[in-house]
Symmetry: C2
Subunit: 333 residues, 2 copies
């Protein structure tokens, strides 16, 4: 085939091949730190750099521009993908819904500011959506009818991917699954100000709240965990459960029930092909036990057919996902 091509056409092919190998910079902007790395083919190039998140929108923008300029010294970038907490209008690249972790960030026109200052094409997305996109593409699940990615961290985030595309809802707020209402008795106040959000039970914060509740009337004679009050760390409780501490096991089981509750709700609503669990709490999930619980708590023919995968991208999901959306959408040409 190439023999029939002109020299011009061959040069264009080579240009395109080189361009295809060029990375986008992925940036994961969290409440405490900013992670950043060039990404190509769903892989970060080198070790992601991490800097603390400064206070105030202007300082954050300056830090992001600094990170981009730094990366450009070593890489020719095709664009920038930014994953941020909050509800993001992905057309304009503006944060339209505030997040408690980034005060003053809502209303910032991230895309416009950074494109103006760097000249690079920028895509901005919600962090859980970006991570979901990365996970689905990396696991080769783009042809699935529906995949729900659940980020179990300090809170709970989510992303819904249908046939390889993010489902963003009517106002960019789809996938805010941490705030599904999972209890009716105003038992736990969520950090968002609502009662009984799923994340006030199923997240890391929820785990600790459950541990605190269950340990309240327990003495150190009964379990050494009681000494860890008022804020028992998740890893210590999980380790104790592994070692046979029956009270620790009750806490871990209760947390699995709480994680299960949200998955059951999502399964009956969306009937996805599968779930992907990521985030800092993913390593504490007993996947066989969770799957058993889900089957038990779902209607027949709903639970059995659900796969529950563990994240393949780990902590880099936000960085990789954000960069990959940028590569797939902004700079496809």
């Amino acid at each position: 085939m190439t023999s029939a091509k002109s020299a011009d056409s061959q040069n264009r092919d080579i240009d395109q091949m080189l361009k295809d190998k060029m990375p986008a910079l992925g940036i994961d902007l969290g409440g405490t730190k900013i992670g950043c790395a060039p990404v190509a083919d769903f892989k970060v190039i080198g070790e992601p750099s991490k800097v603390p998140t400064p206070k105030g929108a202007e300082n954050i923008i300056n830090t992001l521009v600094g990170l981009i300029e730094e990366a450009r010294k070593k890489h020719i970038l095709r664009g920038v993908g930014i994953a941020t907490a909050g509800i993001v209008d992905t057309e304009t690249g503006e944060v339209i819904g505030s997040t408690g972790n980034l005060p003053g960030w809502a209303g910032t026109h991230i895309k416009k500011e950074i494109e103006t200052r760097t000249g690079l094409p920028v895509h901005v997305d919600n962090d859980a959506n970006a991570a979901a996109y990365g996970e689905v593409k990396a696991l080769g699940l783009s042809d699935k009818t529906c995949v729900v990615a659940v980020t179990l961290g300090t809170g709970i985030g989510g992303g819904i991917i249908m046939k390889g595309q993010l489902f963003r809802g009517a106002h960019y707020a789809a996938g805010e699954i941490g705030h599904m209402r999972s209890n009716l008795n105003n038992h736990r106040l969520c950090t968002c100000g609502l009662f009984d959000c799923w994340e006030s039970y199923g997240s890391g914060r929820g785990f600790r709240a459950t541990a605190k509740e269950l340990l309240t009337n327990v003495t150190v004679d009964q379990t050494p965990l009681a000494a860890l009050l008022p804020d028992p760390p998740v890893d210590k409780v999980c380790a104790a459960a592994q070692e046979g501490d029956i009270i620790a096991k009750r806490i871990v089981d209760a947390w699995h029930e709480h994680v299960c509750a949200g998955i059951v709700t999502l399964a009956h609503t969306l009937d996805p092909d599968c779930f992907i669990i990521s985030g800092g709490m993913a390593k504490f999930v007993d996947y066989d036990f969770l799957k058993e619980l889900v089957i038990d708590k779902c209607l027949p023919r709903v639970g059995e057919r659900l796969d529950i995968h563990r994240s393949s991208l780990g902590d880099d999901a936000g960085i990789i996902g954000a960069a990959q959306i940028a590569l797939d959408n902004l700079v496809a040409g």
Copy 2:
């Protein structure tokens, strides 16, 4: 334009126009009765006929065939749309998930059986999905990103419509929103065998269970409603609330909170443009109050922008929706 057309072409146009006016037969198959009417342009032609649902799959099929043959005496039908309880494989027209209300119905190849016996094209769908489709088309909401139709009846059903198309999930079970888990304490056993499904609180059955709970320690001196135990009827409780009975009002408010809980969960998951509320309980909803509650219990920018519509098709939604899906999909040519 027509002047340039041949006589043949004009005849074809007239054929098509006549065909466009030909109705499909819509059938709504419930646990106690079967409703049936010819439908064209989102309207039933004449008064729907109603017959009791017989026992057993073979008897049901015979009854459906009888209804179709009866309708054919008066109408030239383009096809048949059947809305049934249960999870339906809409490609094969088979009921794949059983429903307690129609024992022995799961496994029936409805489409194949009825097409063979009548020679008409048949589309079979889940009843809540069919109703949702009818409502969305009738309200002119086909261009919306996402509409969630909620059927508040004895139980709760749902249908999710994205850009005018039903979202069926990976295994035809999407929209089973009555079985979202809405409480964590195994407080109410749902008729499906699971605990704390949304429908065990937000449906008509849920309303009566709440009324029963709240009235347990109340005497007839405090409210005449206490005399209605053990199964206080919804209409009587709602009428008493309207007339100022404070205890009745608490029951009605609690039910609104329960309905709200599921809407909040769906709003944070799907971020729809709007909800449509239908079913026998829709007339008891105070829509302004429900909207207030939803705004209060949703994240900022999620609740405010949601519209909550009341059904425009009423009791005929299943019949109209089923026929309309058949018209739009089966016999579009």
